[in-house]
């Protein structure tokens, strides 16, 4: 049965690059942050000593800057070339948070307490927009502070050395925020919530069933029907091997994420 296209190959490849590099960054960075924890020396050794860990960290940092730039280029291309600037930045296709998102948060909390129906979502729910912008914030904060720490001699030419102290605080705390957020809240919101448990493969397959669209994104469904563009959005279901590989990859990343989360919790609260 035909399915509805949600993510194209470009989106999916960038998400995989993001997941792999993020795991690499956390695995090679947290042993430094929690150097006092007994697991840190062990994990560092596994990564080839601190030089090996630094190399992994920097390779993954370059991948991060790469996917970030690739995404910006995509947005520019999509808005300028594909849509020819016929794009409403506060419309339902946009990632920009707007009034409806604030209303959705309010109504969703009411639904949590059993005080009203679940709000109807369009293409992007508010928590998805939050995830999206959190990457901009995170890559910006961690990326810039990370560059300072990577090239201190260069930045030392025009910035005082205590900038590196400030950069260390930002890099370290923002990393904890990012890892803590992805390995708990993002995992739950997208994969582990009861409706999707144990995994939502849409980011790997790129397609939703019509049923999923109708129930989870009713406003988008309605819009596609009204605009008569639903047929255009319908595609053949993803090839089996891509689906299987995607699910396998997804489980592996979720599992590694949980292991890293455990190490972070140990480092933060026990040792």
């Amino acid at each position: 049965m035909a399915q509805v296209k949600r993510f194209n190959a470009y989106h999916r490849v960038l998400h995989v690059a993001m997941a792999v590099s993020f795991i690499g960054l956390v695995a090679s960075g947290m042993p430094i942050k929690y150097a006092q924890a007994p697991w840190a020396a062990w994990l560092t050794k596994l990564l080839g000593g601190y030089e090996g860990a630094a190399l992994v960290h920097r390779i993954c940092a370059v991948i991060t800057f790469g996917y970030f730039a690739a995404h910006i280029a995509y947005v520019v291309y999509d808005v300028a070339v594909v849509r020819k600037f016929k794009f409403n930045p506060i419309g339902p296709e946009s990632m920009v948070p707007w009034i409806k998102d604030a209303e959705d948060i309010y109504h969703n909390f009411k639904w949590f307490f059993g005080m009203g129906p679940r709000p109807l979502f369009d293409r992007w729910a508010y928590w998805e927009k939050f995830d999206y912008w959190a990457v901009f914030w995170g890559v910006g904060m961690i990326g810039v502070s990370g560059l300072f720490l990577w090239f201190p001699e260069f930045f030392g030419q025009f910035l005082p050395g205590w900038t590196f102290n400030v950069a260390t605080v930002i890099h370290s705390d923002e990393a904890l925020l990012a890892a803590g957020f992805i390995f708990t809240i993002h995992y739950f919101n997208t994969h582990l919530r009861p409706e999707k448990f144990p995994m939502d493969p849409v980011i790997f397959t790129g397609t939703l069933t019509l049923h999923e669209l109708q129930h989870e994104r009713p406003l988008e469904y309605q819009r596609l029907v009204e605009e008569k563009t639903l047929d255009q959005a319908m595609v053949e279901p993803q090839k089996n091997w891509i689906t299987d590989l995607g699910i396998l990859f997804g489980f592996a990343v979720v599992l590694i994420g949980f292991l890293l989360l455990l190490l972070i919790v140990l480092g933060q609260f026990i040792y």
């Binding site: 000593g49 400030v166 605080v169 708990t184 919101n189």
Partner: protein
């Protein structure tokens, strides 16, 4: 020649049998001016005072005797024979002092070089060569350059001139008998902890930096205390002689960061983000990050738990209805 003939004659008249006691030795060696003269009182007050001479001078069993030969302390101390403490000898075996023997240097320090031979007292005893206050002088016999540097250092001034018992001497870093070779990675890493035993605040803040974290992970190539502060000639950071003084800091940073600039040297190697007065930018950055983290996690954890609760409840109700 005449004297040794005399000794021989004397010895043969006194001794009748090969079995003899320590007291017999004093009949010759107890006399001032004799070769191998022993101050009986001083010896008997030493840690070995109750031990027979021949227990150490194993080559000697009868009068007259030939060359006594070098005493090997290890016969008791390496094996721990008759309750002799053995840890020190075993550590010495591993030390750089022992390891230079195969290199073929002849001035190898052995036990006696530091402890002396007959008049060995506990290191707490005023007469001991190895009492704490005497250690720098003792080591200076072979290491005069280091002693000179140490004497001018803040540690040396405190220990030697001000008799500050807390100030470190050679052993506090070089570990008495163990004396690891300079450059031994494990030793250099342990020195960081050793400095921290007294400089608790400094090691705490050092451990917050990349330098301190990498050394904590067990890699000695990253900057350790002595790389920035110096070792034997260590001075207060406010002292012109310090490696970290205005005149010297750039050269010190450049040892590892060859392109360092003066701006670069304004890095705080011992910053404390909770100290608002001293590090205001760090403090407010830390405060902002902390609020951001606690705020984000609190909102989303509450959101997630409520969501999970509601979803599960609705699904159970649905199932119940079916």
């Amino acid at each position: 020649m005449i004297r040794s003939l005399f000794i021989l004659l004397f010895a043969s008249t006194v001794v009748a049998s090969a079995a003899y006691a320590t007291g017999d030795c004093y009949s010759c060696h107890g006399r001032k001016g004799m070769p191998g003269y022993i101050d009986r009182n001083a010896f008997q007050g030493s840690v070995h005072g109750s031990i027979d001479c021949t227990k150490c001078h194993i080559a000697i069993s009868s009068y007259p005797h030939g060359k006594a030969g070098k005493v090997n302390c290890g016969i008791c101390h390496f094996l721990g024979r008759d309750g002799a403490p053995s840890a020190q000898a075993q550590e010495y075996k591993l030390s750089v002092h022992n390891r230079i023997v195969p290199v073929g240097q002849n001035a190898v320090p052995v036990c006696q070089t530091c402890h002396g031979s007959h008049y060995i007292y506990p290191s707490t005893d005023r007469r001991s060569e190895t009492r704490r206050q005497n250690i720098p002088v003792l080591c200076s016999k072979c290491h005069p350059r280091e002693f000179k540097e140490y004497g001018k250092s803040i540690h040396g001034i405190e220990a030697l001139e001000r008799n500050n018992a807390m100030a470190p001497t050679c052993f506090d870093c070089h570990q008495e008998h163990l004396i690891p070779p300079a450059g031994d990675a494990q030793w250099m890493l342990s020195l960081v902890r050793q400095c921290g035993n007294c400089h608790a605040e400094q090691i705490k803040t050092y451990r917050k930096t990349y330098h301190g974290k990498v050394t904590q992970l067990g890699y000695a190539t990253m900057a350790k205390c002595s790389d920035c502060h110096g070792s034997h000639s260590i001075a207060r950071v406010t002292d012109k002689a310090s490696l970290l003084s205005e005149q010297n800091i750039l050269a010190t940073c450049r040892k590892c960061h060859p392109k360092a600039t003066i701006g670069f040297t304004r890095f705080y190697a011992h910053a404390e983000e909770t100290n608002r007065a001293k590090y205001p930018v760090m403090f407010y950055t830390f405060l902002f990050m902390t609020v951001l983290l606690i705020g984000t996690f609190t909102f989303f954890f509450v959101h997630t738990f409520l969501w999970a609760y509601r979803s599960l409840k609705e699904r159970m109700n649905k199932k119940g209805g079916e």
